[in-house]
């Protein structure tokens, strides 16, 4: 029977990364919420204020890393959910590449936005 399960794509690595990103996101998401709703109020937001934060290199790199991990964690979570539903074959491949494409678009757009604030080229 074992050959029925040999897909040669062990999910172990994705499982582990989902946990590693989770541990990171717990801290950074809490920080993000705290900073942008309690320290700075969302209704007082302005380009200048966002820009002031983003020109700080530490903050910039933290936010980019936040974007990448959040995208991975979220999109991988969606993929897992669909996998649990028993998605297989061509449909699964289509979903997989659609999700990957969406993630790339999201990350690129996010970095462009961050660059706009940081005064870097938005390519």
């Amino acid at each position: 029977m074992a050959e029925r399960y040999s897909s040669f794509e062990p999910g172990g690595r994705r499982w582990l990364w989902q946990r590693i990103t989770a541990a990171f996101l717990v801290v950074v998401l809490a920080f993000h919420f705290f900073l942008l709703h309690f320290v700075n109020h969302a209704d007082e937001v302005s380009f200048l204020a966002s820009s002031a934060r983003m020109t700080d290199l530490t903050y910039y790199s933290l936010m980019v890393l936040f974007l990448i991990t959040a995208t991975f964690h979220g999109v991988n979570g969606v993929y897992n959910a669909l996998e649990n539903q028993g998605l297989t074959g061509t449909k699964k491949q289509v979903v997989k590449y659609t999700l990957i494409a969406a993630s790339i678009v999201l990350v690129v757009q996010g970095i462009r936005t961050a660059n706009a604030w940081a005064g870097l080229p938005t390519f």
Partner: protein, 141 residues
């Protein structure tokens, strides 16, 4: 020559009322996960108005560039503010239950997994209620 019968809906009869803590935790975690991914995409979409605002030096100084106006307009809507409170609830639960799941993955406290689920629910409620004033500040004024 026995043919079997798929019970369809009979099969799920009464199931949701019989769910245990672990099952509810999973349902909520999945739901909040979907909401958060959805929000991540819209969040970046809204924020990327900053890209087109980047060149307008004068407008930025006067705080009437595209980005600032869009965000301020959104924040002045009561619906948006209420949705933000909802987002906070969703995020806080996902964080707390996520911590619970990390512990479960590490094999810590599996016997009290139901209690930790209830704890994350209660804590989420408390944090959200405490944050309502901050989140709704200024929208009525």
């Amino acid at each position: 020559m026995s043919q079997s019968y798929d019970r369809g809906l009979v099969e799920d009869f009464g199931r949701w009322r019989e769910f245990s803590a672990g099952m509810w935790a999973w349902v909520f975690h999945k739901f909040t996960g979907w909401v958060l991914v959805g929000y991540l995409f819209t969040h970046i979409a809204v924020l990327s108005t900053a890209i087109s605002a980047a060149g307008q030096t004068q407008a930025i100084a006067a705080e009437n560039d595209v980005y600032t106006t869009v965000i301020t307009a959104l924040e002045s809507l009561l619906v948006v503010r209420i949705l933000e409170v909802g987002l906070l609830a969703v995020a806080v639960f996902h964080i707390l239950n996520g911590c619970r799941l990390l512990l479960v993955d590490l094999g810590i406290g599996l016997d009290s997994q139901d209690k930790s689920f209830y704890a994350s629910l209660v804590l989420t409620g408390a944090i959200v209620v405490a944050s309502v004033p901050t989140f709704l500040a200024g929208v009525f004024g």
